[in-house]
């Protein structure tokens, strides 16, 4: 995201905000859906995240890159959405993703069963394309922790990954 657009949003330019949304909406919706496992919750999380950006753009430090700041906000909205869903749907009744299936859907659903702390760095790394260091910054954890979590996530998905040839 270029600095001029951010500067214009800070000055209250609604068209600049629309451009920001046009550029970030799709990856944001994918990210949120991968984290919360629901398109509806993802849409709510993205909407709330952009709303927070609109309100709090004045707090953003223009000297720093915009996207990590944005995804930290979106990640917090996703966590909030998950907490909200958890109150409504008991964990035991949530559908389990166990058996390997014969398409990418099986792997995606397996990712959905990972603990949130493992799912978050995995999505940032393989869906959003962030390096471990950037992912660690967005998550607010150390680089070692981020790397360790990705490694553990991959181990849990080993059965799907090793049988990938069947996909």
């Amino acid at each position: 995201m270029d600095k001029l657009t951010i500067q214009r949003i800070r000055q209250g330019d609604s068209q600049a905000f629309a451009r920001l949304y046009g550029e970030l909406a799709e990856p944001a919706l994918r990210f949120a859906a991968a984290i919360v496992g629901s398109d509806g919750l993802a849409a709510d999380a993205v909407q709330d995240a952009f709303l927070r950006v609109y309100r709090n753009i004045g707090r953003f430090d223009p000297a720093k890159p915009f996207e990590p700041w944005f995804y930290r906000i979106l990640l917090n909205e996703c966590r909030r959405a998950l907490r909200w869903r958890k109150r409504l749907v008991p964990v035991e009744s949530m559908p389990e993703q166990t058996a390997p299936q014969d398409d990418h859907r099986a792997l995606y659903e397996a990712i959905g069963t990972l603990e949130l702390t493992l799912r978050e760095p995995l999505v940032l790394r393989y869906l959003m394309g962030y390096q471990d260091r950037e992912a660690a910054e967005i998550l607010g954890v150390s680089l070692t922790t981020a790397k360790g979590r990705v490694k553990r996530a991959r181990e849990k998905l080993r059965v799907f990954l090793e049988e990938g040839d069947a996909i």
Partner: protein
């Protein structure tokens, strides 16, 4: 399957799994725009309400202030209350002020008067001194050397005094009478202009004159009593006359008729 292939598999699975979410992009924007517009409206209404409240508060405060100003400045109760408050906070200071001549006598020295005033009164006094302290000229204090007419001083030898007065008057005495009494011999010498010199026991005891040329410290018969007072201050009451003196004696005695001094007399007091 190597590591790179596994990474690609993960990426592909995540992308395909989230394809459905991207279809909500337009719906989210519509909802987001509506929410932002709603919040903007609410913010504008809040700002307007805040401005209106601020204006009302300011107007109310101004009204109260104006009412208070009117009360405190225009009504007797308000003025009294203001004065009480001012007095309550004014520092009280005791000041000793020395004022000369306040006793009203020529011999009055420095009188110490303790004056308790507020700070405002003190400054006012310092800026504009009381007229009694400086405006009135100091009365002349008579000395023995002042007791002379035509330059002839009292206590001068009798013959010398008579000769001096005769020269000054420019005429010989018209009478010269001597009398003996218990205090000794007295001699009364008179001139035609009304001057009378008393020589007692060989010394000039007194001179009395009615002529305007007979001056004592620049004062003479024919002048007003106020002229005498202006120079010498307030006189003492003497028998049928007014007097000033050296110390507490009556040494300059005048008779007054209708505010005009008709005779001047300088005299020793035994």
């Amino acid at each position: 399957m190597n590591r790179q292939q596994q990474d690609q598999l993960l990426t592909e699975a995540l992308k395909r799994g989230t394809d459905g979410a991207t279809g909500q992009r337009a719906r989210v924007w519509r909802a987001l725009s509506a929410k932002i517009n709603q919040q903007e409206q609410e913010r504008k209404q809040r700002d307007m309400k805040r401005r209106r409240n601020l204006w009302l508060t300011t107007a109310a405060a101004a009204t109260v202030a104006a009412a208070a100003l009117v009360f405190f400045s225009l009504t007797p109760q308000g003025t009294a209350l203001t004065n009480q408050i001012v007095k309550f906070f004014a520092p009280e200071k005791k000041m000793d002020t020395q004022i000369e001549g306040v006793t009203g006598t020529q011999q009055a020295g420095l009188a110490t008067v303790a004056v308790v005033e507020t700070l405002q009164l003190e400054s006012a006094m310092l800026e504009t001194p009381a007229p009694t302290a400086t405006a009135a000229p100091e009365p002349r204090k008579l000395t023995w050397d002042d007791l002379a007419i035509h330059g002839v001083k009292l206590d001068t030898a009798g013959e010398e005094a008579i000769a001096g007065l005769t020269v000054a008057i420019g005429a010989a005495p018209v009478s010269n009478e001597s009398t003996d009494d218990l205090s000794g011999t007295s001699r009364a010498v008179k001139w035609a202009d009304g001057t009378v010199a008393i020589v007692r026991n060989g010394k000039l005891y007194s001179i009395e004159a009615t002529a305007p040329t007979a001056e004592v410290v620049g004062l003479h018969a024919g002048m007003t009593l106020d002229d005498f007072k202006a120079v010498l201050g307030e006189p003492h009451e003497a028998i049928g006359a007014l007097a000033w003196g050296v110390g507490s004696n009556d040494n300059l005695i005048v008779t007054v008729e209708g505010g005009i001094v008709t005779s001047v007399k300088v005299s020793l007091v035994e």
